[in-house]
Assembly symmetry: C2
Homo-oligomer: 324 residues x 2
């Protein structure tokens, strides 16, 4: 099985120098090097005939772009739930990459080889500070999908804070005065943003707000008329538990889900739940755009995209629990 074809091979075949092949390939009219049309054609023919494609590695070493964008995640992509979670991002990334003429390099095990690509997109709900620092330290262009707390990290995120605040406002407008946030509230930025959006909006509206872990005993939520659930996958379970506890959703208590359940979650919620939708495809899209700009020397940006609200049927007029 022969070696792969190199520019030298093409050069020998056509009786020119390797440099000429390189020039023809990159078609640099401005470089001050001129090639006779017929020579150029001979070279192009040979390239066609051999199926030659510039070697990625050589090209990168000589420090040119190879139109490859890297992608890696800080969490496994497969196991069950996350697969469906990541997929829309990847779809967006792939679509946009095709449009800008780039191929995607999926790093199967972390970022050590990130320099093989012109730039990288990193995914992951939560990335440690030290890890982010290492990425920045690489001095290689990258864009995070999802907001990161560290300064100077370019990202395209979803505005979970604003979306959560809007839902709080809707709840307040429907008469709710005692609200609870159920979930970790951290350490991932996406959870921090939700909790902060919740807390700020409640404060601004002057309503009572509490924060509980997801395993909170339902007794502690008896005063609450609207529950804001951080983890969409828990929706079905929460609603069932509430019912089992004698509280019907949305009759006795409203439930707002801060995100969208992925289909992989074995049990889809029985109701069309009030929630919002993370614009995952769009985020992937914009991340690619951003990265391409970055590779092209433009300055880093930090972008938040709005989440679309889904009215659903689990946020209703508040009733005092005495009414039941």
């Amino acid at each position: 099985m022969g070696r792969r074809v190199t520019q030298r091979d093409i050069a020998r075949m056509t009786g020119v120098s390797q440099a000429t092949v390189s020039v023809v390939l990159n078609d640099r009219a401005d470089s001050g090097v001129r090639i006779a049309p017929e020579t150029r054609q001979r070279v192009l023919d040979a390239i066609r005939a051999t199926g030659y494609v510039a070697d990625v590695v050589g090209r990168r070493l000589a420090d040119r772009s190879n139109r490859i964008l890297g992608v890696f995640t800080y969490e496994p992509v497969f196991p069950s739930t996350t697969a469906d979670f990541y997929h829309p991002f990847l779809v967006g990334i792939e679509q946009r990459a095709e449009q800008v003429g780039c191929d995607l390099l999926l790093f199967t095990s972390g970022p050590h080889r990130m320099r093989l690509a012109d730039g990288c997109i990193v995914l992951g709900r939560s990335i440690g500070k030290d890890e982010l620092a290492r990425l920045v330290g690489e001095h290689h262009p990258f864009v995070s999908v999802g907001r990161r707390d560290a300064a100077d990290v370019p990202y395209v995120g979803a505005d979970y804070g604003a979306a959560t605040a809007e839902l709080v406002a809707k709840a307040v407008a429907r008469g709710h005065r005692r609200l609870a946030y159920v979930g970790t509230g951290g350490p991932a930025e996406s959870h921090l943003d939700r909790l902060r959006g919740f807390a700020d909006a409640c404060l601004a509206a002057g309503v009572h707000a509490t924060h509980e872990r997801r395993d909170v005993p339902l007794e502690k939520l008896e005063d609450v008329t609207a529950i804001f659930l951080e983890e969409p996958a828990d929706a079905a379970e929460l609603i069932a538990a509430l019912r089992h506890h004698g509280r019907e959703v949305p009759r006795d208590v409203s439930v707002v889900v801060l995100g969208e359940p992925t289909r992989a979650g074995a049990t889809p919620p029985p109701l069309d739940v009030t929630r919002f939708r993370t614009p995952r495809r769009e985020m992937g899209w914009q991340a690619v755009d951003h990265l391409v700009d970055l590779v092209g020397g433009q300055p880093a940006r930090q972008t938040l995209l709005a989440c679309e609200l889904v009215a659903g049927e689990t946020l209703e007029q508040a009733r005092s629990r005495r009414d039941t």
Copy 2:
């Protein structure tokens, strides 16, 4: 904000040569080069101090492989049904690629740049003969996921023929004597294999077999007691249509599905359908193994993996239609 640290930098800092740094780094006891313990220590200290990490690009250039495997599909990966179809293959490919230390290059638009990778994996239900010929003509290692009719194409496929034949045998054992295959029967190899497995098994068993398009009027199937459905996504619709036509499944007619419905199909079948399961993950796995062998100079192979039968509840004892 300086350049990256290189071996030359380390070398200058410690007063040795770049080659020495390389040797210390790779710690090759067998290379015939010996380094005094204290020198080695000085170098290691400098490496520690600077946080040096070998540049992947330089490293790959020196050993002439880039540990990149390409992947491309001949059909779009996203739109609806196919997404869920391809995903398990990709999962298998990615898992195995990580284990063998390769990254994956996702070609966003066809194979023209396939030489960027050490070798490629190609996916697609159906690939034209000419296209296959071009791939072979590239003289660049590749493995197809799915059997291909063209000679000399290395592949890892699923043994649809055997699986279909087994199901025919089960039907015959349950007294079915008039069987129909509903579907295109081509031109994709996977469909050809199913149809051939069906036809051969029916012939061997001496039972009556017909082949109908998927839009066949149900009247034409009135004599048939067992329907073999090529396209799993159509299962729900077929069962509903049969019922609407006065024939209950499996009471009046058995339905065997030649594959597994993907979740994306809006309407999952109402019954646990008798079918088989394509070992998609496993196929991805083995395709990577095969490709790595190929890149390593080993000969091409053609492999078929068995499909797992799922008993289900839609293949029942045959009743003459007069019984109803």
